[in-house]
């Protein structure tokens, strides 16, 4: 993996002349999606393979390259590619490795960036999926031109990518920015997959919302459209659909979720005083149902010097494209190989 320039829009412009494209590879637990992206954030070619089908990381990387290379060749060859960015769970930017990723088939430390670089001869960088989303938002989305913002991804878990002084925050070890695992409820907090209690993720992820739904349905006998769904099958999408239909209990679940998230965001603001917080993922699509309680909770909880200063924004990247775009954005930062 090669060293990287500080994030800087001008790099994109300069590099456009000769190398107009980047490649983004998003490695998910189920699918790996990859695409070739231009400087405006248009995906000009893309493909995907099943991540879980390859027990050996070598076979997996070979298969990605087998599918990706024809796309590269069809668009002018490797010479037209400025760099490859990879977004992966447990990705470490400094080492270009994924480390002990529980949802991927390969155990231990896998030097994915180096493996792709070696096969394709194109500079390659890797980071975790939430950081990639943050870089994507800064390059193509709602955080264009911002130097200080926090990206919060609300998916199965809660992820975060923090940008300060125009730079992604990786910390001394490459693992900074796990805001989904800050403790928002110290007493009687929900058990988290990480083994601790009260993590933000247990309340404000899609699974956290489903968990809240089951709790709310058990705690009262209030009528709700959600009662027609077997409790263990309820998803955050079901809660949204019910809320849109005017279901009070479903709306209360969003109120509860948004309030908790807003309380947490108020503390994050005291850390880095960002210009904006950008929300991405299914929950962020719930519009006012989630944004209003979040904003209210921020206003009620933030220290007065920060009040009204930090914008709360929804991601401007299309869901289907965001993962590849985010990963690809890392590619603009890469220097040419020597």
């Amino acid at each position: 993996m090669l060293l990287i320039n500080p994030l800087n829009k001008r790099n994109i412009m300069n590099s456009n002349m000769e190398k107009p494209y980047v490649v983004g590879i998003d490695i998910g637990g189920t699918n790996t999606v990859f695409g070739i992206v231009d400087a405006r954030g248009t995906i000009i070619a893309s493909g995907s393979i099943k991540t879980g089908a390859y027990e050996q990381a070598d076979d997996y990387v070979n298969e990605v390259c087998k599918n990706l290379l024809p796309l590269i060749i069809a668009n002018g060859g490797a010479d037209k590619i400025k760099g490859i960015g990879i977004g992966a769970p447990n990705g470490n930017y400094y080492s270009g490795t994924i480390e002990f990723a529980p949802n991927l088939p390969w155990k231990g430390v896998i030097p994915l960036a180096a493996m792709f670089e070696e096969r394709l001869g194109i500079p390659c960088a890797l980071t975790n999926d939430a950081n990639a989303a943050g870089i994507g938002e800064m390059t193509y989305g709602a955080a264009r031109g911002m130097k200080d913002f926090i990206m919060i991804t609300l998916g199965t878990g809660v992820g975060s990518g923090i940008v300060i002084n125009g730079q992604m925050v990786y910390g001394h070890d490459g693992f900074a920015g796990e805001l989904g695992h800050t403790i928002i409820r110290r007493e009687n907090g929900r058990l988290c997959g990480c083994g601790r209690h009260g993590c933000l993720e247990t309340y404000c992820s899609a699974t956290g919302v489903a968990r809240s739904a089951r709790e709310f349905l058990t705690a009262s006998t209030e009528p709700s459209l959600l009662r027609s769904i077997p409790a263990e099958n309820i998803t955050s999408k079901d809660v949204y659909d019910a809320a849109v239909q005017g279901d009070k209990l479903a709306q209360d679940i969003f109120e509860f979720t948004g309030t908790i998230l807003g309380e947490a965001l108020a503390d994050f603001i005291a850390f880095s005083s960002p210009e904006a917080i950008v929300l991405f993922g299914g929950l962020a699509k719930a519009g006012d149902y989630i944004f209003k309680p979040i904003q209210k909770a921020i206003d009620n909880n933030v220290l007065s010097i920060y009040k009204g200063k930090t914008k709360l924004l929804a991601s401007e990247l299309k869901d289907s494209d965001a993962a590849v775009l985010g990963a690809s954005a890392l590619g603009w930062e890469l220097r040419d190989m020597k």
Copy 2:
């Protein structure tokens, strides 16, 4: 106020040749202390005036200059001074102003950096006291050579200075890093001077420790040396003195304080994954009484990927010198005036 280079040790070395000194001015509610400092962090001349004696900021700045100028002249003149750094409560680095500082005599927004620059003809920068402490620690103290660390000042309040990628974090508005005002107890949290409840500062400042002492003494009939002091007069120093003499209740107060601080630090680590957290101020002098419970609480509360990675350090700056040294360190970052 002039623009400033990213923090960079080489600046010090380069500038030493012609301009071997900086000036630090620490503006406290009671005293203003100033000094001339060399590149090794030795204060070669210093003085002080009473901050509160000057109702007009103009008179105040004139008086500081009147006292400071003879020291500058005695040490080679303004040409030998690389820059002036000012540490002040509610100081805004971007604007060089102090803004609505409740403990200073001047109301509204005061352009202190520009006022000193105008009178002395030396580039001048200003930041809040906790940020100054952080820069001081990075330049002369326990965080030398570190690019990612968090400074926590445990005084009358709890302040913080956050360094990421070798740069002080100021946020989009200059007010980032108020970790003393993150909420550590959401239910039944103590009322804070900021008007909210449960701020870290209400538990882990010197006044927070005194408050805990009063609570502990009321909550039990356990014998304690502290019972010989009128409750309203107890200070954190009294608690320390009692703890050193083996007083169990006093030791429990430190255990309580350290546990809460460690819980908070575990969350801060999830934000920026710092190489170290440096503690400064009276409480940090309580040694193992406070460091052991802090470390234990960090270990018990931090997400597993961070476990054992972040060092917990005591400041290496002498209490009496730290404020001036911290402020002065900002002076090395300044560019010459044109």
